[in-house]
């Protein structure tokens, strides 16, 4: 069963069409890499999935639940959108940790807020889960540090734990290593690779070609707002059918 179905998504900013008819599907446990040059629409696509942008047209379905359908616009109240967002997690390029909270407080904040709204989970359990996630990220000694006391790679790993804390169906990464010094990208990529090995369903927008190739089950190459080519890593990287894919890959 497809865990995610994206159909005919279009998005315009003013007059510029950033996404022109994007369609793809993915299965549970898959890791999908999205590659392509800057301005090809990769980030906008992720932002549409997380409802940070509203698509102009198209359909987004998760586990057969229609989250967005431009043909049948339902309620777009804040509460509705919040509920839909929870199917997705998003790890930002610039981490966006909350500076006034320690690593573990960053991870615990959203689950605690859910609790306040009556989805009772006992606070000890929220803490245990947060500790577990940070340990998984290799940050057992950093839990009580504030973001400014952490390196970029450590901050990004906290951000990944924070996104995992709500157990999203699909975890999205928006160029997770682009803001990092080269020597720090390894630790973040290693963590993402481990998540892939544990069959976490993920969409990864990245400029790290060798990583995209290793970690992904499926690769999408975007160019000028369309999906120019997609397939297995072998298909896209070793035997690209499209001329523009070849041109793009030749730069790496």
């Amino acid at each position: 069963m497809d865990i995610l179905e994206v159909k005919n998504i279009r998005k315009k900013f003013d007059r510029t069409e950033v996404l022109k008819d994007i369609s793809f599907t993915m299965q549970e446990g898959q890791a999908v890499s999205i590659i392509g040059s800057s301005g090809s629409g990769k980030t906008t696509l992720l932002r549409c999935l997380n409802f940070l942008e509203m698509p102009d047209e198209g359909v987004i379905r998760v586990k057969d639940e229609t989250l967005f359908d431009s043909a049948a616009p339902g309620s777009r109240s804040e509460a509705e959108i919040r509920k839909k967002r929870l199917h997705f997690g998003l790890v930002f390029q610039s981490f966006n940790l909350f500076p006034q909270y320690t690593a573990i407080e960053n991870v615990m904040l959203a689950p605690q807020m859910m609790n306040e709204e009556g989805h009772r989970r006992d606070s000890g359990e929220v803490r245990r889960h947060a500790q577990e996630l940070l340990e998984k990220m290799g940050l057992q000694n950093r839990m009580d540090n504030y973001p400014h006391q952490l390196s970029g790679g450590q901050q990004q790993r906290v951000a990944i734990a924070r996104a995992l804390a709500l157990q999203p169906d699909i975890l999205c990464f928006d160029e997770p290593t682009s803001a990092l010094d080269p020597e720090l990208t390894g630790e973040v990529l290693r963590v993402i690779r481990e998540l892939a090995e544990q069959k976490t369903t993920m969409i990864i927008v990245t400029h790290e070609m060798s990583f995209a190739r290793d970690v992904a089950d499926h690769v999408i190459f975007m160019d000028g707002g369309v999906i120019a080519e997609q397939g297995t890593p072998q298909e896209v990287f070793d035997h690209p059918r499209e001329e523009r894919t070849r041109q793009f890959l030749s730069r790496f």
Binding site: F92, N96, F98, Q100, L109, M113, Y146
Partner: protein
């Protein structure tokens, strides 16, 4: 004589402090409301608010005091402020609150708009409500950023309260000056300066403490 002067000045200083504290009590929250108004996308609300801020920040507080106190009586032919010292004090308080709320609102606006959009978006993708994002994520970061400019403004307010004398609100300088006429001595005026120095010194210590308390994050 010294005791006599001290007691008189203390009396005047009480008026100064009363005006100072009540101005803060009303202007700090009112400023937040005004800042929300000035940040609204809805232009018919935003532009009038920005216009008012422009008028208030663009004219002298002393002029505002005179207009607010005398204006209603002369234009509407009735004194809405009530008679005597109490009425004048209320008129002065209203002028100070409006004036300082406008200044505070611009400081709040600067603080709120300086928070990176990524902080809001991180809250959104974690499923937080707008209210939760403001209270749990944005607010403390804004407070940290506005403490230095707000403390500046508050220390200015301590001294600005002396302007209330233009509508004959008794405050400490008024009392200090009275000794020039009654006793022909100038030192009580220097003495009033000491009151201001001590009070603004205490405020400086307080704001330094708050800044240190918020220095645990960046």
């Amino acid at each position: 004589m010294f005791l006599d002067v001290t007691l008189t000045l203390l009396g005047g200083f009480l008026g100064t402090i009363k005006l100072f504290i009540l101005t803060l009590v009303f202007a700090l929250p009112l400023g937040l409301l005004i800042s929300f108004g000035s940040m609204k996308h809805f232009a018919p609300l935003r532009y009038p608010v920005k216009f008012i801020i422009w008028i208030i920040r663009g004219t002298p507080l002393m002029l505002q005091l005179l207009i607010i106190y005398y204006g209603p009586g002369i234009i509407l032919h009735q004194n809405i402020w009530g008679s005597g010292d109490g009425g004048r004090f209320i008129a002065a308080l209203v002028a100070f609150v409006i004036n300082y709320a406008c200044y505070f609102s611009e400081i709040y606006r600067g603080g709120i708009q300086s928070i990176p959009i990524g902080q809001y978006e991180a809250g959104q993708v974690l499923g937080l409500t707008k209210g939760q994002i403001f209270r749990k994520v944005i607010l403390l970061q804004v407070i940290k950023r506005i403490v230095p400019p707000i403390s500046n403004e508050i220390i200015t307010l301590v001294k600005d309260t002396s302007l209330a004398r233009v509508i004959a609100v008794y405050e400490i300088i008024w009392e200090g000056q009275s000794f020039i006429k009654s006793a022909g001595i100038i030192w009580p005026l220097f003495y009033t300066g000491l009151f201001y120095l001590v009070f603004s010194g205490l405020l400086t210590l307080l704001f330094g403490y708050i800044e240190r308390r918020l220095s645990y994050f960046r």
